[in-house]
C-alpha cells in the first residue's frame, strides 16, 4: 500500500511536469501549426544552461534562474525568427523535419559546449524527504508539482485576461481573421515559441533536479509528445489532464509490470500508450477531430 501511494505521488508530480512541457508544444501547435519535435533538446539545453549558471559560474539562485528564463526567451525568439519565419505556409512535412534538424543542431551544440555525459543539478530545494501518509517522498517532486501548478495558473490567467493572450487564442481559432483585425500574427508566433522555450526550460530544471542532467533528458520531450497525443494536439486542458495519466502509468506500470515483463518497461510505456491511442482514438481525449476537405 505504501508502495502504491509512493508511485501515485511521484507519478502525479512527474506527470504534471510533463504536462507543463507539453503545454509549450500545444501553444506552438495551436498558434502556428508547427509540430515542435525539438522539445526534448530544448529541455536538455536549458538544463545544461542552468547547470552552467549555477554550478560552473557559481551564480546565486536568485540571479541564475532569471538568467535561465531570459536565455529561454531569447532562444525561442531566435528559433522563430531565423528558422520558422521563412517557412510560414510551407507543407507540414517541412515544418516537422525542420524541427528535427533543429533538435539535431541543439544536441550537437550541447555536445560541443558540455561534452560531459552526466552532471548533477545543484540543489535548488531542501533535501529532507517528507512523509505523506505512509509514503516517503523527496521534496523535489512536491516542489516540481507546485511550481508547475502555479505556472498553469499564470498561463490560464494570461490567456484569459492579457491582450496578447487573447490575441493568441484568437489566432489559434482563425489566423486570417486575426490578421484582418490588425493583430500581428508573426508576433504571436514569436511569443508562442518563447512560451514553449520557457516552459521547456522550467520543465528541464525541475526534471533534472529530480534526476540528473544527461542526454536522457531528451526523452522527456518524447514523454511530452505522448502527453499531447493522449490529450489531443490542440487542447490545453487535454495536456494538463493527460500529463498525470502518463506520469502515473509510468511509475505504476514500472512498479508492477517490471516483474511480469522485462526491465526498462518504464521507458516504453509512453510509446505503448501512443500506439494504443493511435488505434483507438487518434485525435486524443480532448482533441478536435479535423474534418478535411479537398
Amino acid at each position: 500500500m505504501t508502495e502504491l501511494l509512493q508511485f501515485i505521488i511521484t507519478g502525479l508530480a512527474l506527470g504534471i511536469v510533463y504536462a507543463l512541457i507539453a503545454l509549450g508544444f500545444v501553444v506552438v501547435w495551436k498558434s502556428s501549426g508547427v509540430a515542435n519535435l525539438a522539445l526534448g533538446q530544448l529541455v536538455l539545453i536549458s538544463a545544461w544552461f542552468t547547470y552552467s549558471m549555477l554550478a560552473q559560474a557559481q551564480l546565486p539562485v536568485w540571479l541564475g534562474l532569471p538568467l535561465v528564463i531570459i536565455f529561454a526567451l531569447f532562444l525561442g525568439w531566435v528559433i522563430e525568427r531565423i528558422i520558422l519565419r521563412p517557412l510560414i505556409a510551407q507543407p507540414i512535412l517541412s515544418l516537422i523535419t525542420v524541427t528535427l534538424g533543429l533538435g539535431y543542431f541543439l544536441q550537437g551544440l550541447v555536445g560541443i559546449i558540455w561534452p560531459m555525459s552526466l552532471a548533477a543539478m545543484p540543489p535548488l530545494f531542501p533535501k529532507t524527504p517528507v512523509r505523506i501518509g505512509t509514503a516517503v517522498v523527496s521534496q523535489e517532486y512536491l516542489w516540481a508539482a507546485i511550481i508547475s501548478l502555479v505556472l498553469f495558473g499564470l498561463l490560464t490567467l494570461y490567456f484569459r485576461y492579457n491582450r496578447m493572450g487573447i490575441a493568441m487564442r484568437a489566432a489559434a481559432d482563425d489566423q486570417k481573421a486575426v490578421q484582418a483585425c490588425g493583430i500581428p500574427v508573426t508576433r504571436i508566433f514569436s511569443r508562442s515559441w518563447m512560451f514553449a522555450c520557457v516552459l521547456a526550460a522550467v520543465g528541464g530544471v525541475l526534471i533534472s533536479s529530480i534526476g540528473n542532467i544527461t542526454v536522457g533528458l531528451t526523452h522527456t520531450g518524447l514523454q511530452a509528445f505522448s502527453v499531447v497525443i493522449l490529450g489531443g494536439l490542440d487542447s490545453l486542458p487535454g495536456a494538463i489532464i493527460a500529463g498525470p495519466i502518463i506520469g502515473l502509468s509510468e511509475t505504476i506500470g514500472a512498479g508492477y509490470l517490471t516483474p511480469l515483463t522485462w526491465p526498462g518497461i518504464r521507458e516504453v510505456i509512453p510509446f505503448i500508450i501512443i500506439i494504443i491511442v493511435m488505434f483507438a482514438r487518434p485525435y486524443g481525449l480532448f482533441g478536435e477531430e479535423r474534418i478535411e476537405r479537398i
Partner: protein
Amino acid sequence: MDLPAGTRNYSYAQDMAIFRTKTHWILLGVLILLLFAMPAYWHDWLSVVNRIGITIIAVMGLNILTGYCGQLSIGHAGFIAVGAYTSAILVQRFGVPFPVALICAGLFAGVVGMLFGVPSLRVKGFYLAISTIAAQFIIIWVIQHWTSVTGGFSGMDVKAASIGPMVFRSQASQYYLILIITIISVYFAKNLSRTRVGRAFIAVRDNDLAAEVMGISLFRYKLTAFFIGCFFAGVAGSLLAHTSLSISADYFPLTDSILFIGMIIIGGMGTILGPILGVIFIRLIDVLVTELSPALQNAFPNLPSGFTSGIAPLLFGLAIILFIIFEPRGLAHRWQLFKASYRLWPFSY
C-alpha cells in the same frame, strides 16, 4: 529539357527509356566500370563506401515511403534493426543460407513496418511521425530485452555473408555484394516510381483525400508503401549484419532515423538521385569530422575535451535546416539546374 537538342522520341519505348542517347549509355558504361573497378584504386575508402551503399539501400526505401508516398517515418533505424536481427537469427540459429535470410529479413521488416503503418490510415503528419518514433523505441526495447533470442544488450555475433561456396569476408568482396544489391534496389525504385503503384503513391502524397476520391485505395497503397519502404530497410539491415559481423541494438539509434530523413531532404525528396546524393553528402561530412577531430581538439585546447563529438550532429542539423529553408528540393534539383544550364551553354535559354 531532359534531352539534348534535336533528340526526338518516335516511339513509346524511346519515350520511357531511362538511358536515351548514345552518350547516356557511354556515361553509364563508364560509371559502372568505375564502380566495379573501385577496389583497385580506392582501397582505403572501401569501408566508407560500403557503409554508403548500405545506407543508400535503406534510404531508398525511406524515400519511397516518405518522398513518394508522403508518409513520414522516423522509425527507419528500427526497421533496419528488425531486418538485421531476422537475418542474423535465421543464419546463426537455423542455418538458413544467406540469400534466403536476406529476402526473409526484407519480408519480415516489411510486415513489421506495415503493422506500425496501420495508424497512417487514420492520421498523418505529426501523429504519424510520433507513432513511428514509438515503433522505433518499442522495437529496440524488445531487441534489448528478449535475451534468449537476440542476445540482449551484448548483441550477437554474425557469420559473414556467403552465397554457396563464396564467402564475403574481405572488404572488396563485401563491396561487390553491396554494390550489386544497391544497383538492383536503385533500379527497382526508379522503375517503381513510374508504374501505376508509383503514380498512386505520388497522388496519395499530394493529397490523399483527392486520391481516394479518384479511386486509389488508401488502405492498399499506404500499406504497400510501408511494406516496400521497410523491405528495403530489412535488406539493408541484413547486409549490415553480415558485413559488420556483430550487431547490437546500439547500431540502430533514433538519431539515425532522423538522419535518414535529413538525407532525403538534403538530397531531394521524391527523386531517385536525391537519396544517393544525400547519403553521400552526410556520410562524407561524417568522415570529414572524424578525420579532423583530433586536429580540432589540438587546435582549440581551451574548449572542454571531447567537444568534437558534438560537431557532426551540429553540422547535420544545420544542413537539414539550411536545405529546408533555402533549397527544399535538395541537391537533386541543383543537379537538374546544372544539367540544364550545361546543355544550353553559352545561351541562357
